[in-house]
Symmetry: C2
Subunit: 203 residues, 2 copies
Amino acid sequence: MSIRKTGKIRVRRAPEDARENILAAAERLLVVEGPLALKLAEVAAAAGVANASVLHHFGSIDGLHAALMERMVRQLIAEVLALADKGGPTRDDTQEAVFQALFDVFENRNAARLAAWLELTGEWRRMTHVREAVREVVARRASFGDVTPKQAEDLVLISVTLAMGAGLFGRALAELIGKPSGHAREVATEMLRVFHAAQCEKR
Amino acid sequence: MSIRKTGKIRVRRAPEDARENILAAAERLLVVEGPLALKLAEVAAAAGVANASVLHHFGSIDGLHAALMERMVRQLIAEVLALADKGGPTRDDTQEAVFQALFDVFENRNAARLAAWLELTGEWRRMTHVREAVREVVARRASFGDVTPKQAEDLVLISVTLAMGAGLFGRALAELIGKPSGHAREVATEMLRVFHAAQCEKR
DNA sequence: AGCTTTATTGACAAAAATGTCAATAAGAAA
DNA sequence: TTTCTTATTGACATTTTTGTCAATAAAGCT
């Protein structure tokens, strides 16, 4: 056993490492157990530290929530942009890559649950970098030139909306009608393809 | 003022009325303040009764939650089915009416927030009547005959997914790119129309 | 009227969650 | 080594939220 009764051993981390350790544990909790599991005691236990340590680094439970939101939003944005950059040679390939990136992030990484939580609590409006990131995505999309700028805006808007909806409700709804869990995503991407094609024609 | 100090006047309701009063207040709270506001004290205050009364009728705060979920899901299903029945003369009109019904319910009535809450807490799987209702919707849709049964299933799946996504995230995302709040819904319905048309062609 | 049932409630108890603080110890610097 | 900073922690205090209970009173019944 590695339990000591008398000799007191503590893991002492650099402040950033300590914060990272706690935030990673909190993120795991959020994704697996849902937002209700984000209690002080649960987060501390998951991170392997004392309650007081969490408060030391984040000030309060709300501070932890805010830090977690910020971290996850940053990861999310970075991931979408990175995946979008790895588009194929043609425009259609690139568009397809962006769609897949969106669904990967929102469905597989469970970012949709975070987004829903942010929307329900209404706390996300403070994060200005979200606004900037969205602007960047729209600008990139519009630069392709296969659709008008207005169409590009609509495409981004509807892609993200659909990816979030599918990421949050897709599995449950698919199960509900007896389809495999990935079915909602398939139909969603198909619909986006059709819509994009129609946009290109109508331009 | 209508405050009495000595004479004790109580409102005594029939059990169903009392439950209804409390549930209505709770629903108002959920929609306006979000799921975090569903505390015993807040619900009781909103309903104008004592905390103990809420517990008397629902046993516990979890009992209240469950009853609220059930009630809202029932209302939601009834509303969608009723609106879907009021379809226009042609098939396209009927389809359009169903789309509008979905978006009305999920966006305007804020049912999307409830759905998100149910998904995050994972409590909705117990409600079997949801499964039955979805089956009924699919059956109705398939009976139109303008698409194959498989396509009908996909259409229901994707319509609901999109309506929920738009209802929950639409306003925020539209604002984020500087569009009017109803824009997400417009684009969403347009995309559904395009997809439906493509389905009919491909049949 | 009196009697019965039970919805209602205030006061209180219990539990859960958050936050405080002084003491400790790990690591860096002197 | 000694000193200093501060991350860490257990014990405790505070706040919030939930749940209990006996007394009250509103409505139906005889």
